[in-house]
């Protein structure tokens, strides 16, 4: 027994040290070749399809993609602390608010790229070319087809109407998508209106906020409430879930795009920017340009049910069936600007 234990320990140490040596090699090679071969990506997008896109990029350019996955907040903190020594070339987040925060913290740099500037609609990119949207997602209302007539739905603002008392399902305010929605309401309607909106929604909630967006949809079908505020791409994922029950659940709800007669439905982007101290700046630009190429955009929409930012790429069948919609053209940097205020208002309104 003892011998086995010792053998195991030695084996582990060897493996770990092996890793260590490999790491050293990696580092010396990155230090030597700062101009080509690698791009270091800090990303909050933990989606499997992204791996495929990275592989496609590697095959096409020969530039190796090295990835650190964590939440955007933690990545921003990490970049801040690493300072000039940060190995990060590209920062990818799943919302515009975090990108504009990274910009405010001086972690990104302006880049020149005709491709990015021309192909991406202007409201989906930073005014100083510090970050660019890659995919879009809409914050929509999912409703129970058997209990709610879509004619009764109209705007986010209408959700405070008494007729929705005890009917609304929505997740916690710690979620960035809710924070961005609130930030857009602050930007569009002002703080006071935003606060009374939050209080109205809280008063109409079917239950205390919990769970994920998918859980809100399930709760609608289970009858806990009638309508849920969720992100569009989760519905696409549920419709294509490996779990037959989830597919059935998703089929029982309808999708409503709010505010079609005024400013449009709130959208957010997942986006990318080049790090201020990027050791491989050229590669980073090539990398981001590749992410909005037709083939990469195709993968984003097909595998993750997001709306492509590239207008020439058609959304995948499932989300195309939901129809076209008018989107809120609010400059997305406003989301970052009002994010903190949004959280404060949530707390004051008691939106957990």
């Amino acid at each position: 027994m003892k011998k086995i234990l010792i053998a195991l320990a030695t084996f582990s140490i060897v493996v770990a040290c092996g890793d260590q040596n490999k790491k050293k090699d990696d580092q010396s090679s990155t230090a030597e070749t700062t101009t080509s071969q690698v791009v270091n990506v800090y990303t909050h997008r933990h989606y499997e399809p992204d791996q495929n896109i990275f592989k496609m990029f590697e095959e096409k350019t020969g530039i190796k993609v090295k990835v650190i996955n964590a939440s955007a907040d933690e990545l921003i903190q990490k970049m801040k602390m690493e300072g000039k020594q940060s190995p990060a070339d590209v920062l990818i987040t799943v919302d515009a608010g975090r990108l504009s925060r990274a910009k405010d913290e001086g972690l990104l740099q302006s880049i020149e790229s005709d491709i990015l500037e021309k192909e991406i609609p202007s409201h989906l990119q930073d005014v100083d070319n510090q970050w660019f949207g890659l995919t879009k997602r809409a914050r929509i209302i999912a409703y129970a087809k058997d209990r709610v007539k879509p004619e009764d739905l109209s705007t986010y603002e209408d959700l405070v109407n008494k007729k929705w008392k005890g009917k609304i399902l929505v997740r916690s305010s710690s979620n960035i998508y809710n924070q961005s929605l609130m930030a857009s309401i602050i930007a569009n309607n002002g703080e006071a209106a935003a606060k009374s909106w939050a209080e109205g929604v809280v008063a109409n909630m079917a239950r205390s906020p919990k769970g994920s967006d998918r859980d809100q949809v399930k709760a609608v079908v289970a009858g806990e409430g009638d309508i849920a505020i969720v992100n569009s791409y989760y519905i696409g994922k549920m419709l294509n879930s490996p779990d037959a029950e989830e597919v059935k659940t998703a089929q029982q709800i309808g999708l409503f795009f709010p505010n079609q007669n005024d400013r449009g439905t709130h959208i957010n982007v997942s986006g990318a920017g080049v790090a201020k101290y990027a050791p491989n700046k050229e590669n980073a630009i090539l990398f981001i340009e590749y992410l909005i190429s037709a083939e990469a955009q195709q993968v984003f929409t097909e595998a993750n049910y997001e709306y492509p930012v590239l207008e020439s790429v058609e959304p995948v069948k499932d989300i195309k069936e939901w129809g076209e919609f008018k989107e809120d053209k609010l400059g997305l940097n406003k989301l970052g600007k009002h994010n903190k205020k949004a959280v404060l208002i949530f707390d004051e309104a008691g939106w957990k």
Binding site: N69, Q85, D215
Partner: protein, 554 residues
């Protein structure tokens, strides 16, 4: 002392300094060095406190703090209760009685620890969900499904208890296995019944061990983020993340962390206080194994069910749910890469477990040899890392290591070498962080077994002229082996499932299973997270079974 007049106070201070001078020796210096090394990140977080909280502190106190305090308090009380029932009863039954599948259950009872609690949370939500496993089962049976809502505060307390009770089980069992026999015999000879022996004799004597386990559970309960967030329960830790990231105020987050540390420190002091009341050492002849009884009649079934219940709730049910998800997602998720990642996770976990246990041993014995009680108390600061959310520790680690890195880079630049970060983003920083974070997990079981080694044994060895180290290796280590092995298992499992630290500090080319599971779970792909979670469980099973054999064989 405080009531005493100025004069005598000055006098006592003088003597104190004198005494301190007399007592300072290489062991106390070494202890302080290690404490400083391990507590460095915590100290850095503490220093931040002096810059004051951010401007939203008032807002937090007004709108959020009452909720945080109340929820955390609720969790501490309910979890303590449940964990003690599950942990102590199962530990006593498997040590005292012989019954069907006892041997298997002995190690199965440790395994609930191997599932990250947020995964247990997802699994239970999946079981009771609309369209979930229970719903399907009821429909198959043609019954009306009564949906149980588990996603609330009570549900969270249940989830955390059922996945953390093994801490209490492990330390209580270590005590029962090694210390209980002669006590039991004495009690039997005096004609005391089984029940009375347990409640009047064994339970009070096992208290230090049980409380040591309980403190670990409570630290983890207060520190939980994933499950609490998913279940919509706001605790200190969710608050720390909210103020740090959503409110963009790291200082406020640090303030909340400090409050959390204060609560934990109170718990530790409470533990010390209650252990002191019943300070004892025993078992000069602790090698005799407990004699197991065969329960008769109904008792057989009562005991069997009492032991299998926590296994079913904490391990079998969630694992079945995970396997079901794994089967339906296998085609898209499974990849041979998982084998490689499992090996990496295994290697990292075993190495950090050994390092952490090593540090814990150094701390415990150096401070013991230094004979200064103050040193012993100071050494406890090193334990606090377990109470601090991993993400906060990661920051605490990055501050000093980055400073060192920058210094090294400057030095190297002077000699003309251009280098990147040397410590950050390598395994060194990660292993250091694990040692800081999990020291408590190693410290407590070892300390509680070390307490029970009668000082006369090592003392007589030293009188005979054998040095501290040799005495330790030849005499003390064999006596505390159970505690050491338990510590290795616990740290190993904790590292296997550790997340926030790993995410921030891990090198590029290293992936752990926990990171893989998180990548899916964080994007609401809970089903897809099941395969890496199962790999965590199976990888963790290897040392659990293996070391458990060593424990018993002894």
């Amino acid at each position: 002392m405080k009531q005493a007049g100025n004069k005598s106070e000055a006098f006592s201070l003088k003597t104190r300094i004198k005494r301190l001078k007399r007592d300072i020796n290489k062991w106390s210096v070494l202890t302080l060095t290690i404490v400083f090394f391990l507590a460095l990140p915590i100290i850095f977080i503490g220093v931040e406190l002096f810059s004051g909280p951010g401007e939203t502190w008032g807002h937090i106190v007004k709108y959020l703090l009452p909720d945080y305090i109340w929820n955390s308090f609720y969790l501490v009380i309910v979890c303590s209760f449940l964990v003690l029932i599950f942990g102590v009863s199962s530990a006593w039954f498997v040590s005292r009685y012989d019954f069907l599948f006892r041997k298997q259950m002995e190690w199965l009872l440790i395994l609930p620890l191997a599932i990250p609690s947020y995964i247990v949370g997802y699994a239970y939500a999946g079981i009771f969900d609309y369209g979930g496993s229970m719903d399907l089962l009821f429909r198959q049976l043609g019954l009306e499904f009564i949906r149980i809502d588990i996603m609330n505060r009570a549900g969270l307390a249940f989830i955390l208890s059922i996945s953390l009770f093994p801490y209490v089980y492990v330390s209580a069992r270590a005590f029962f296995l090694n210390q209980a026999n002669n006590l039991l015999e004495a009690s039997k000879m005096l004609g005391v019944g089984e029940r009375k022996t347990f409640f009047k004799l064994m339970l009070p004597l096992a208290r230090p061990a049980i409380v040591a386990g309980l403190v670990l559970v409570l630290m983890e309960v207060l520190n939980d983020y994933g499950a609490a967030k998913y279940y919509g329960v706001n605790t200190f830790t969710t608050g720390i993340f909210r103020s740090w990231f959503s409110l963009e105020e790291p200082q406020t987050a640090v303030y909340l962390s400090a409050l959390l540390i204060l609560i934990i420190f109170t718990l530790i002091l409470f533990e010390k206080w209650q252990v002191r009341k019943i300070k004892f050492t025993s078992s000069k002849t602790n090698s005799t194994q407990i004699q197991r009884k065969e329960p008769k009649g109904v008792m057989q079934w009562v005991i069997f069910s009492a032991v299998s219940l926590p296994i079913i709730l904490g391990f079998i049910l969630p694992v079945i749910q995970l396997i079901y998800w794994a089967v339906i997602t296998a085609s898209t998720v499974f990849d041979m890469e998982f084998i490689m990642i499992s090996l990496q996770s295994f290697a990292i976990a075993i190495v950090s477990a050994i390092i952490t246990v090593f540090f814990a041993l150094l701390l415990i014995y150096f401070s013991k040899w230094s004979t200064l009680t103050t040193i012993k108390n100071i050494s406890r600061i090193g334990v606090l890392g377990y109470a601090i959310p991993g993400a906060v520790i990661a920051i605490g680690i990055m501050i000093p290591t980055l400073a060192l890195d920058k210094w090294l880079i400057n030095m190297l630049a002077k000699v003309g070498v251009d280098s990147g970060l040397i410590i950050n983003g390598t395994l060194i920083a990660l292993l250091y962080a694990y040692a800081v974070r999990f020291l408590a997990v190693a410290y407590n079981p070892i300390d509680s077994t070390a307490l029970k080694v009668d000082n006369s044994i090592p003392d007589s060895s030293k009188v005979l002229g054998v040095g501290n180290l040799k005495t330790f290796l030849k005499i003390e280590f064999p006596l505390i082996k159970t505690g050491v092995f338990s510590a290795v298992i616990l740290v190993f499992i904790d590292v296997m499932k550790e997340l926030p630290l790993t995410l921030i500090l891990k090198p590029y080319h290293i992936d752990t299973l926990a990171v893989k599971a998180f990548e899916y779970a964080s994007d609401e792909m809970v089903m897809e997270a099941s395969i890496p979670s199962l790999f965590i469980i199976f990888t963790a099973m290897i040392p659990v079974i293996f070391l458990n054999k060593l424990l018993i064989k002894k």
